[in-house]
Point group: D2
Chain length 174, copies 4
Amino acid sequence: MIAIISGTNRKGSLTLQIAQIYQQLVESHGTPTQILDLSQLPHDFAFSALYENGNRNAAFTAFHQQAADAEKLVFIIPEYNGSFPGVLKTFLDGMPYPSPWKNRKAALVGISSGPQGGAPALSHFTDILHYLGIHVLAHRVKMPFIEKNMVENRIQNENYLRQLHNQVKSLLSF
Amino acid sequence: MIAIISGTNRKGSLTLQIAQIYQQLVESHGTPTQILDLSQLPHDFAFSALYENGNRNAAFTAFHQQAADAEKLVFIIPEYNGSFPGVLKTFLDGMPYPSPWKNRKAALVGISSGPQGGAPALSHFTDILHYLGIHVLAHRVKMPFIEKNMVENRIQNENYLRQLHNQVKSLLSF
Amino acid sequence: MIAIISGTNRKGSLTLQIAQIYQQLVESHGTPTQILDLSQLPHDFAFSALYENGNRNAAFTAFHQQAADAEKLVFIIPEYNGSFPGVLKTFLDGMPYPSPWKNRKAALVGISSGPQGGAPALSHFTDILHYLGIHVLAHRVKMPFIEKNMVENRIQNENYLRQLHNQVKSLLSF
Amino acid sequence: MIAIISGTNRKGSLTLQIAQIYQQLVESHGTPTQILDLSQLPHDFAFSALYENGNRNAAFTAFHQQAADAEKLVFIIPEYNGSFPGVLKTFLDGMPYPSPWKNRKAALVGISSGPQGGAPALSHFTDILHYLGIHVLAHRVKMPFIEKNMVENRIQNENYLRQLHNQVKSLLSF
């Protein structure tokens, strides 16, 4: 099973749409998936589920345990202020330590309204995943100017689609 | 005025103690300060104050406006999972855009229980501040093994204290 | 005086052309400049001027001493293999330690044939300059697809030109 | 076969000693290795083997072709000026493009005289390897204060040795 983390809590995000597109790509290879949509996190989890409250917020624990059995992880990461969303890192800060995902493998997808496609976010996030003992696929997909490249929940850019296809294939054999 | 951001919402943190030590150092030069303690943020701010809710959470707006007049900024950043705390980035994700702090100047202090002193956190955070148009002082202070180097709210390590003194002087003339 | 470092030893590079354009922009403000063109380095400097041979290669020493009096530095950095050129870092590895440029101020310009405009190179290079005690201007100029945006030694992209103008003004008052 | 790159051209380096220790660890598992010692590079390779001179320096080509058949790569990286040695990146800048090592797997070891153990170097280098399509093992070994932890070509620090052992095992099954 592959867990796909939609890396923002913004409602109605393109990030979630891309997580769903990614899900279809993976499932077309016959591999089951599970989407973790960070917009479904308990609203106060940064206070009620971290540090001395680790494991005390049942809704938060249930949320991340959906992906406890994932062999591989995909993070869809929108670029916010030149890096990943704070809420995505807070989600990791609330996970048990050592990470239940140690030695799992991950693929990263960056999206942005601007020209960078989340490149700095993916670089920073790789450091974090390595710290947690999670291997990261070399092929990072970056999709800049994402609003201009989507129409009605569909990616219109052939290059983006080809990169996603290739990344899925690489991830399945990683 | 210099704003000192205590970069975690963990209760009773060493981060806040170090923010208070930093405050004394700056004020000993006759410069006023203001501490922003992220543990005082509204507990649901990641949902109620970001994105389409920007500026709609009066408590959050009041929180960051305490530092609206700061000419310079100091970020005390504990290392969590190989980078800065998610809640610190979420705080920035909730600030107005473009940043009210554009062209301000900032100094970074990293602390950690382990050997890195927050070095990767400070590197990632520099990218973010540059994105926001905030200049970063070259001298980054890193304080590894922080628990072993504090006794009753005081830093016992002469090298750490000297570095903080030097950074304060550099920041005041930056 | 402002030193402008053309960050590659590739002959006939666009990097050097952009260094010359930058020179004109700075000098139009009445500030003198000096270009350091890394293609003029002694060909064996990585072996004859580093480590135990520090300061023993007169041609290398003369090269970097051209910029000894620079108050500010500009690095024009082409993206090679996802970062800065190795030769640019080797040049720094051959400089005296501690850096003669400690506490100087620097501006970074990235160029690339591809879409990133040298963004990761500028991020990595900022870490290095901070390590050396050199302050980095927040405003990093990135010029992707550089070949398509130059005609006969001139930049044709209005946005790139505006960014360079603004960076020069910021650097002069930094 | 695993290629071990000794990441500096400094003569008599601890880096090379550690490459040799790593070699013994890998070979004790029955896997053949090849050390690439950058101190053996042609002294003018940064000028005679790069860019328009790609593939024209027979000695340089012979050097990197020693590792053409490597299935996996190990980089021993000393920290110079807050990052990897320039000469190591220059070596990569002289390799054919696209990289002959695409889809190979790599492990990173950082060493330093100071407290960081090459951490920023390994972070920057991971970005470069990912750009080249090389997968990087999550477990990065960092060995700070290396001079104090070696006696007569032997590592005396039990923690460092344990980390190297564990990394070798992870790499062999990566």
